[in-house]
Symmetry: C2
Subunit: 446 residues, 2 copies
Amino acid sequence: MKTIRVEEIANYAGQEVAVRGWVYNRTDKGKLVFLLVRDGSGFVQCVAFKGDLSEALFEQIVRLPQESSVIVSGLVREDKRAPGIPGGYEIGVRDLQIVQAAAEDYPMALKEHGPDFALDHRHLWIRMPSQWAILRVRATVIAAIREWFDTHGFLNVDAPILTPAACEGTTTLFETEYFDEGKAYLTQSGQLYNEANIMAFGKVYCFGPTFRAEKSKTRRHLTEFWMVEPEIAFCDLDQLMEIEEQFVTHIVRRVLRDRGPELRSLGRDLSKLENIAPPFPRISYDEAAKKLQELYEAETDPEKKELLKFEWGIDFGSPHETALTNLYDKPLFVYGYPTAVKAFYMEPWPGRPEVCKSVDLLAPEGYGEIIGGSERMSSYDLLLQRIHEHGLPEEAFKWYLDLRKYGSVPHSGFGMGVERTVAWLCGIEHIREAIPYPRTIKRVYP
Amino acid sequence: MKTIRVEEIANYAGQEVAVRGWVYNRTDKGKLVFLLVRDGSGFVQCVAFKGDLSEALFEQIVRLPQESSVIVSGLVREDKRAPGIPGGYEIGVRDLQIVQAAAEDYPMALKEHGPDFALDHRHLWIRMPSQWAILRVRATVIAAIREWFDTHGFLNVDAPILTPAACEGTTTLFETEYFDEGKAYLTQSGQLYNEANIMAFGKVYCFGPTFRAEKSKTRRHLTEFWMVEPEIAFCDLDQLMEIEEQFVTHIVRRVLRDRGPELRSLGRDLSKLENIAPPFPRISYDEAAKKLQELYEAETDPEKKELLKFEWGIDFGSPHETALTNLYDKPLFVYGYPTAVKAFYMEPWPGRPEVCKSVDLLAPEGYGEIIGGSERMSSYDLLLQRIHEHGLPEEAFKWYLDLRKYGSVPHSGFGMGVERTVAWLCGIEHIREAIPYPRTIKRVYP
């Protein structure tokens, strides 16, 4: 008999198969027992009828605790009402082998749990359908990211995690003793390395964990998160936006193609995602500031009005991003931010040094910034001047300055946070559910 | 005119194209100047003939410093003798635009450099053909790893980098202050998390940087390296070895298919890699011990003899691995190591508790261990006993013990180091060249 994966059950209607997995739920109806069995690839209803089985086995099944590991075999039947993911098929049980009867005190039984309890039991929480679905979407997002870059001439070049003498101050960096070399710091971004790498490889991306020791306690912040950062030689801001919209659209389409059952099980409105296609709207920071002023003036609720307060020169807060993106049904580019609120290495806007060639991509439905990018400074003199203005140690940037000395070229790049993207695609509130083992300022367990 | 990538030049013979890149080398022959131009995807010879160009431009070209960034346009000609990677084509220069003339003091000029100097200039060293080729192979190894798992039912589930209270002693762990939660440690392996994840997803892999604060100073050790770790529910040791040989063969074939020019440019003997196919030879530790004893007795050189000294119960050293793998022309499985030299969580051999169900895969040609794996313990009681025997804190392993309490299943997994695999495939001496920015006990820069 063939052992199958639940996700491919539609191919086995009318056949006898075996499924190896865990009992997620059990409902007893006299002579019938309904087991919802999960095997990692999906959830399937298995129907045990007393008349089909030995008395001893049926008695065992009736008492089977949640999370017991089993090998179920039987006939696959199509039944549109059958619950499960993908659902629509059930297995009429012919035999069942108990690998291990689970202990009766399973802590993540089928009820609501507070967030702290659930996070303390993250190693078990991931077995629940919602968390399982989100992390399956996450894996597809990661595969789609790599697929797009790998098929568009980008080379994956990993940036180091342990980095030398902190460049932009150490307050938001995790630090560690590094043998006799003093301290090393956990990376916040691979971008500076990317800029060296494009001079060797043309177009590159790094993709790995990054770290922020910030005391931010919001639903959009983690201390450890995954970021993909591409960088492109001979690329300006307009070309960068084109790349971003093609890239993001690819991710959305791949997730829609491969993870429909998971998204539906999360209650996601797929029509909102099906709508994502290039071109994405592009507005300047100046235009955004004008729109925010209009929204502020039109707002009648004093509390909301207060949150919308805005003046040219400040960075957007979450209420501003939400208000702006609510005007559109696609991701929104905002470009040309004030130089003062962005990093030191961004190319100035020609003729307007107070503005830089930066662009953020804001997700729809209030999910906020998912990508931050810019054209980078290519002039040695200007970069050196900027390093001095920011009070940064020139010595630590010597290698970075070399890149403007030996074959400088116009170049651009961006960084996309995986968890924020997954949260948007899944339509979930808090990004801590978009990573297997979330790390926040209060949590480094399990 | 079309801007092309050098790696696709064979498609443009007879056409006028533009290439954007950097001057890697320049040879002047009177009225002819040969420029070796690299664009990140390859190296191509560009021939500037004085008669074809304005006098001013030709004079500029004659003086063009190494690493100047340029846009070269001209006619693609097939010429088997033309140097480059892939080589065999050259461009007859019609026009050349200098984006930036590089400073004259380029530190990585075309000569041999000592390892420390080269590593200090890693951001420039990667522009040289050998390093460029190795890191291109690395990217393909990474893509092949993910391709194999993604098409064989494995889900990518990331393990955390920051981990709680160190489990196996802290001497080889990097540590960092973690807000008010005490210390956190940089992960050495995602395996324990993988074991939780298979109970939710069936087959998983994690793939990210891992850390060892070991004071090992060998050509096979880095303090930061990338490791891929798959884990499989309902899988025993024999099935694990089958997976490993399929997996490794896939990587080798993909690299041969996509990175032939790079491997040839490194002088790699491709026939050695073309030979890799399942099945791989499998010997037990007991058999290996016997073979080593025979080799020891046959050795006449006293120095070599001393290095081959071996007794049952110890782990293999590098000379032992090399001696064993020299007996085969494929990777070699050695299984059933002594329990005492392996981790606490490995399943004991039935009837022989002094041996465990572990298996290492040793690369040919003396490249040593590239994979370590095992069947994991599935019994709660035995695991708890082993945790006590090893003096480990039970509390820290509570979540890990849960996995044997709620639906335990037989399961196995392994870890493969990316840099060791790349070093083997490229045929290079030292794994520090197999990662973009190597971290060793003496180096955390640039």
